[in-house]
Subunit: 120 residues, 2 copies
DNA sequence: TACATATATGTGATTTTGTGCATATGTTAA
DNA sequence: TTAACATATGCACAAAATCACATATATGTA
């Protein structure tokens, strides 16, 4: 029962739920600094929230150079699968700003040196 | 977004998750004192937990004489529906004791005067 | 009426959680 | 090596959650 509690607890915070929503909806791995930019939250807080999601086995991480990318854990049990579907059913209207920022940030990956002076 | 957070928060407590699991699995309304007996938790705590679940719109109540029965709220949105399914997918093995006690307690409803001296 | 049963709530103590700040660790580039 | 960037974490504090105790409210019954 503790595992299920841990999952619900992990999802009962705005920042963490937003991270999960993004991961589910963009279907792509994303690194800490990108989440920081999208959610406009301090880096150290994002880091901590990511750890909580990982401890609940909702996400995994992979290190690439100086970046750490986070992605959805493949769900083995039906429970996690249904929880993911539930998060996915949260309408975009709740996340328009974040989704916009996220898309813009992800396209900046390839040519991030060229567009650095673009500003906000 | 706050509603979703509220739901996850409501479910991130052992007693409350157990109450929800029971309500989903017995498919029947149940009153406070019955939950107290099944979960072996103080009445005042059960009362409070039920209020939190109700504030999250997961359950509703109906008064019948001196009893207050609680039952699953009919889910209007897909989100709530998937959350219910997720809770339903939590295996019985996590709840064997509670389920046994619950079944016994519910059969005692009809003939509860006759069997009162049966004890535990 | 008085009493027993069922449920809810105010209050204070304890625990847990989220956050800000500073700083540590690790990686890349000059 | 030094500097810059990316991420993680120790510590202190404030806010929130949980719980135990006492008590209040409401209903039914003798």
């Amino acid at each position: 029962m503790d595992n299920y509690i841990k999952i619900f607890k992990a999802l009962s915070d705005m920042t963490r739920l937003k991270i999960m929503w993004l991961l589910i909806n963009i279907d792509e791995k994303i690194c800490v600094s990108e989440i920081v930019d999208v959610l406009e939250e301090y880096q150290y807080n994002v880091s901590r929230h990511l750890r909580i999601l990982k401890d609940a086995q909702l996400i995994d991480e992979v290190k690439e150079g100086k970046w750490v990318f986070y992605y959805l854990s493949p769900m083995k049990e039906e429970f996690g699968d249904l929880i993911q579907k539930a998060i996915c059913s949260i309408p975009d209207t709740e996340m328009t700003t974040e989704m916009m920022k996220c898309k813009r940030r992800l396209t900046m990956r390839e040519n991030d040196i060229d567009t650095k002076e673009e500003g906000s």
